[in-house]
């Protein structure tokens, strides 16, 4: 186990725990009625965002979804600006104008979450077209869920991406549910076959195994950078919460036994933690210390965001048009 791998592994573990911790705090803010509106939890899917984003640089772009906190953290965002945005505060990433479903973090290449299911597929593919047109070597990862494979836009842009060999990776997070409906009720046939029909190389990977996701991502990102794209990845994962934080009673569409099985036997953080310990990369004590530090960071950021000021009224009609 080389030093570089050790650092990479610990950073991946840290990022997964940061996502889970962020979501636990966001859920608490909702439950205690401190957060305006609703939000969609990424808990359970951490290995997907982290495995992919750890293969990217800050100049690489991503587009995110309504379930986007995980992508945002994984791409390098800070807790403080994220919590401020969730609470509609002026110091948020979008000065409180976007909220949970529209966080964008330009400095780390996050082109933003999108509240239209599948709404950012054109944006991601256009970002890749720009890279090719202007001779830039960045890669764009387009995150979307299994539910978004029902949108026609995906097939239009995959066609163009394949025709023009664009450096884009379509990352389909298949968490088994399209809002409140089982995916097998809304998606006929194979999801990867949809991409293969356009001649796009497609892979399916265990989205609960951060090392498997990251190994595949590193390979595909390097190849996309060389002009061998586009690629398609279906990441098999699971959503621990409901469609949104208010979706509490969900036994009409999935059982508690199923949820229990994924949480106890396939959790990406528990699995990777065991791997780190068994490989001697970190001790239980070191991991506990890291978890505690992240929890303290989150608590500090939440406290800061709660006290932070709202945007002044004169910002309501600011940023409609750029200068």
């Amino acid at each position: 186990m080389g030093k570089t791998n050790t650092e990479d592994y610990l950073r991946m573990y840290r990022q997964m725990v940061r996502i889970r911790t962020f979501e636990d705090n966001a859920n608490q803010l909702y439950l205690s009625a401190k957060m305006p509106g609703l939000t969609h939890m990424y808990s359970g899917e951490e290995a997907v965002a982290v495995g992919l984003c750890e293969a990217l640089t800050d100049t690489d772009r991503i587009t995110s979804t309504h379930r986007g906190h995980g992508h945002c953290v994984a791409k390098g965002a800070a807790f403080r600006e994220m919590f401020c945005e969730l609470l509609g505060k002026a110091e948020g990433y979008c000065r409180g104008k976007g909220g949970s479903m529209h966080i964008a973090d330009q400095s780390h290449g996050n082109l933003g979450a999108n509240a239209i299911v599948g709404g950012s597929m054109g944006i991601a593919t256009g970002s890749a077209l720009r890279a090719k047109l202007l001779g830039q070597d960045d890669v764009t990862v387009c995150f979307f869920g299994d539910g978004a494979t029902a949108q026609g836009l995906l097939y239009e842009v995959m066609n163009m991406a394949a025709l023009w060999k664009l450096p884009v990776i379509y990352a389909c997070e298949n968490n088994g549910y399209s809002e409140y409906t089982r995916t097998d009720e809304i998606a006929a046939g194979s999801i990867t076959a949809r991409a293969e029909a356009f001649g796009i190389e497609a892979h399916q990977v265990d989205g609960q195994d951060v090392l498997a996701v990251n190994a595949l991502a590193r390979d595909l990102v390097a190849r996309a950078r060389k002009g061998e794209g586009p690629f398609f990845v279906e990441l098999m994962t699971y959503r621990y919460h409901g469609h949104h934080v208010g979706d509490i009673n969900r036994e009409y569409y999935r059982s508690k036994d199923e949820e229990k099985d994924w949480k106890e036997n396939r959790d990406p953080i528990i699995r990777f933690r065991a791997h780190l310990v068994s490989e001697g990369i970190a001790t239980e004590e070191e991991i506990e210390a890291m978890n505690a530090e992240i929890e303290a960071d989150a608590a500090e950021a939440v406290a800061y965001a709660e006290k932070a000021p709202y945007p002044p009224a004169d910002e309501v009609d600011m940023h409609v048009y750029a200068d």
Partner: protein
């Protein structure tokens, strides 16, 4: 001064901007070798190559969405939407994505793109290739709307649109592509939000957009024969709108007709008339009239289609009644 067609003016504007800025590129259906069905873009692919003049599949939401993403990350796309009627296909990309990125990101993201498309009936193209949908676009905060009324405006507005850091939709009238006007050889831009007084007059103000500027000018000529002096104003952009020039004129003439080829109800004419009523009420001697297209899908038969759009005779007749003191309710 030389005269060129509106089509040549658009072509020149795009070519000049593509020479000036390597981030500018064109995409759309049949924009390269075909140069669009109206041949507006002919010759550009020969100069700039297929990397910057990109023929797309018939996937309007896809390529408009891609233009949004390219614009958000540093390119300056000009998207060609073959018919204005196809705007309905791209509403999510235009209104939910392009229009809102700057605001939703608190000013961090910008979408410097141009969507060039067209409008206008009486080409016998029936209900799905004849609509004038500028009001739909002008309704959405974050989008700008330009409506060139001649080759001169088409060139100057297009160049300004390409340099603007916001999504701009330009509607060209399909029937005007071969119309010639004086266009200087030397470079010029037309700023957005500056109306142009095409004809001065003291009795009534005729505000027309795009092709309706010609209708208003012809109506003004008819009225002159009756001793009525009509002022004709072309707002040139709907968003931003040069309210000051319109108000100054109407406060002077005390009467106004607003003419636009979009449907009359809930349309461009309604918006402008409403602003004049709100801000020039005490100067008015008559209600501000709206003259838009009839509220029917555009019919195919020439006998019917010609009835649906404002005409110079219709505008002149309405103006005579307003100037004669009739408080008419509809034209």
């Amino acid at each position: 001064m030389r005269q060129i067609t509106l089509s040549q003016a658009v072509n020149e504007a795009i070519a000049e901007e593509m020479r000036r800025d390597p981030a500018v590129f064109l995409m759309g259906e049949d924009v390269a070798e075909a140069g669009t069905p109206f041949k507006v873009l002919s010759g550009l692919v020969e100069e700039f190559g297929t990397a910057r003049v990109i023929d797309t599949p018939i996937s309007e939401p896809g390529f408009v969405g891609m233009a949004v993403g390219a614009a958000m990350t540093g390119a300056r796309p000009i998207v060609d939407l073959m018919f204005g009627d196809f705007i309905y296909l791209v509403m999510d990309q235009l209104c939910n994505q392009a229009a809102k990125q700057h605001y939703m990101s608190g000013g961090k993201l910008t979408v410097p793109m141009v969507l060039r498309t067209n409008m206008g009936a009486t080409r016998r193209s029936a209900a799905q290739h004849s609509q004038s949908l500028q009001a739909l676009v002008a309704h959405i905060p974050g989008l700008k709307v330009a409506m060139p009324s001649s080759a001169y405006e088409a060139k100057g507005l297009m160049k300004t649109a390409i340099r603007d850091n916001n999504p701009v939709v330009i509607f060209e009238d399909k029937l005007m592509y071969q119309d010639k006007a004086e266009v200087p050889e030397e470079e010029y831009l037309i700023p957005f939000g500056e109306a142009h007084v095409k004809r001065a007059g003291r009795d009534i103000t005729l505000i027309g957009t795009s092709s309706m500027v010609q209708v208003a000018e012809k109506a003004a000529a008819l009225l002159a024969a009756d001793g009525i002096e009509a002022e004709v104003i072309d707002p040139r952009t709907l968003v931003p709108l040069d309210e000051a020039t319109l108000l100054e004129s109407v406060r002077r003439t005390s009467r106004a007709i607003v003419i636009d080829e979009g449907h009359q109800s809930y349309g461009v004419t309604a918006e402008i008339a409403s602003r004049l009523n709100e801000k020039a009420f005490y100067h008015l001697d008559a209600p501000v009239l709206r003259m838009g297209a009839m509220d029917v899908p555009v019919p195919f038969s020439p006998a019917l289609e010609d009835l649906t759009v404002p005409t110079p005779e219709g505008v002149a007749e309405a103006a005579r009644r307003l100037c004669g003191g009739e408080m008419i309710h509809a034209a």
